[in-house]
């Protein structure tokens, strides 16, 4: 045991205790939601007690309230994420190759889009989507999420593609591959990990979206679970048992995706922010 590692060992138990305590605080809202979702209406006000007998009825009520919108959310999120990654990729490829002035100017423009507050476009967007006949439709939501995903997806994948060695591109050109052939046959297959990470963080932001969905959907035909949950939350008489069940149902897909694809998820978050 060397002298320099001694202080670390001494306060290791304190740091561990702090981490446990903080974890408890971080998990408390979720734990409380879970307990509440299993309680009968009479038990709900006893917030600190465990449910007498788990009451799964709240989940039946919840599914009745949000089931349809949950399915809409899936129908919006999966194709939406796929399309936005695809469009991001075709935008990112030329930008990773054009290192001159033109490339930088287009890149800068797209970057500004990544940082614009989305609220600014809601009024014209509402108008535009009604004129396109895409208001309150699921394909309309695909289009919107793809379009507003362009900056982040392009940014993310441009950086990813730029890290692929130039020599691979040159070798492909010498083999007579052509830029399009290089993109589809070499670059995309070689970028699976980046594409997957981006698909996951795009899925998260599409699933979690409230603003666009509030502006552009109005009925069960296209309304996603966030809008439905918001309506339940701000209702006049809130029933916390079913509400917590609805809340937990609405977070299951993102939490499962996070736990299963944790590495890609974190890599995606870092990739969208750094470089």
């Amino acid at each position: 045991m060397s002298a320099s590692s001694l202080p670390a060992d001494r306060d290791a138990p304190i740091r561990f205790a702090a981490a446990v305590l903080l974890s408890a605080v971080f998990l408390a809202p979720l734990g409380m939601a879970l307990l509440t979702s299993l309680k009968s209406p009479a038990e709900i006000v006893q917030i600190l007690s465990l449910p007498h007998r788990p009451d799964w009825g709240n989940y039946a009520v919840a599914w009745n309230q949000i089931g349809r919108s949950f399915i809409n959310s899936i129908a919006i999120t999966l194709p939406g994420a796929l399309l936005s990654v695809l469009v991001g990729a075709i935008g990112a490829f030329p930008l990773s190759q054009l290192r001159g002035r033109t490339g930088m100017i287009i890149y800068f423009f797209l970057l500004t889009g990544m940082l614009v507050p989305y609220q600014i476009v809601q009024v014209p967007l509402f108008d535009l989507m009604r004129h396109l006949g895409l208001y309150n439709t699921i394909p309309g939501m695909w289009l919107v999420h793809t379009a507003y995903g362009v900056p982040i997806c392009t940014f993310f994948l441009r950086n990813f593609f730029a890290s692929v060695p130039k020599s691979i591109f040159e070798a492909a050109m010498l083999d007579g591959c052509g830029p399009a052939g290089y993109f589809f046959r070499i670059l995309l297959p070689a970028s699976k990990s980046g594409l997957a990470a981006l698909a996951i963080i795009q899925s998260r932001s599409i699933w979690n979206d409230l603003l666009f969905a509030m502006t552009l959907t109005s009925t069960d035909r296209a309304r996603p679970v966030t809008v439905q949950l918001n309506a339940l939350t701000s209702g006049l008489e809130v029933q916390y048992g079913p509400l917590m069940a609805s809340t937990l149902i609405s977070i299951v897909p993102v939490v499962v995706a996070y736990l299963v694809f944790q590495k890609a998820f974190v890599r995606g978050m870092l990739g969208g922010s750094s470089k």
Partner: protein, 302 residues
């Protein structure tokens, strides 16, 4: 580069690139540039959002806003949110990252837990925290009562004086994980020799952090602060879902007021003027940041 650009293949490659860029650039033009331009135009008009009829009113939407208490209050709340976002989640995220930086049992599980809330939709965060903040049976009040602090319990979301800070509590829980993972990655990439050298020179932990670790972490810090500023400018979902901007507009921010004025009151002109104010604010804070980042990218690839 010099070989390919001289050959006829280069101009064909340019054509291919242009074709590739066509769709993303078109989407960007139609969904970003045009709507922003239209919002600016609409901010000088009176329009209910549905009729074909729009009246030109010049600067009247703006002059009305800047004399309006609700608007000025929203503006101040936005600045409060900006300060909050720049200070609170980055500090907590950095503290959590430092806590797990040295060898600790269960590191992986702690990491999963600290980052977990960031995956969750803001609406779900709001729904859970409304229950936590419930004034008579909510967890926070009950825990305070059991600690003998019941007198300090508040109607957290019903009291106009504290509602914004209460929402910030929920936002801190929700967003600290993002700063946490960026700082964690940054700490992992630090040259350990520097810190070791400082320790051998007899620096205490506090000195080492402020004189060595923190300056070396600058690239992570700049990312966290930049993206926190962007989030602050976009603040909407969590406020809307927790209070709708209430009670009595107390927790309103520009975005929630804009949404209410646009889709609640169908006053598109005034809503657009609020949006333009938000855009100008965002540009003032964020454009220097993008310029810095774009230059940085150029430099590292040059």
């Amino acid at each position: 580069m010099s070989i390919t650009s001289a050959t006829p293949g280069a101009s064909r490659a340019r054509l291919v690139y242009a074709l590739f860029l066509a769709l993303p650039v078109l989407l960007f033009a139609v969904f970003y540039l045009l709507p922003v331009a239209e919002t600016i135009l609409t901010s000088f008009q009176k329009w209910n959002g549905l009729s074909a009829h729009r009246t030109w009113v010049g600067l009247r939407n703006y002059t009305a806003l800047f004399g309006q208490e609700r608007f000025l209050h929203s503006l101040i709340n936005n600045i409060k949110w900006l300060i909050f976002y720049l200070l609170a989640p980055p500090s907590l995220g950095l503290a959590l990252a430092l806590l797990l930086n040295r060898e600790i049992r269960g590191e992986t599980i702690f990491k999963v837990i600290f980052f977990l809330p960031y995956a969750i939709p803001p609406v779900a965060v709001a729904s859970m925290w409304r229950w936590l903040y419930e004034p008579s049976h909510g967890l926070i009040t009950v825990v305070m009562q059991s600690l003998g602090l019941g007198a300090l319990a508040q109607n957290w979301l019903g009291n106009p004086a504290i509602v914004t800070y209460a929402i910030m509590g929920a936002a801190l829980w929700w967003t600290a994980g993002f700063s946490f993972i960026v700082f964690s990655a940054g700490l992992r990439n630090l040259p350990s020799e520097c810190i070791e050298a400082a320790r051998l020179d007899g620096g205490n932990a506090w000195q080492i952090f402020w004189r060595v670790t923190f300056p070396l972490l600058w690239p992570s810090t700049i990312i966290v602060l930049g993206l926190s500023a962007v989030d602050a400018m976009r603040i909407f979902d969590i406020v809307w879902a927790m209070t709708n901007g209430g009670p009595a507009y107390a927790s309103d921010v520009l975005a929630t007021q804009m949404y209410d004025v646009a889709f609640g009151r169908l006053n598109m002109g005034q809503a657009s003027a609020i949006a333009v104010t938000l855009l100008v604010m965002a540009a003032v804070f964020i454009l220097p940041y993008i310029t810095y980042m774009a230059r940085h990218v150029e430099r590292t690839e040059a």
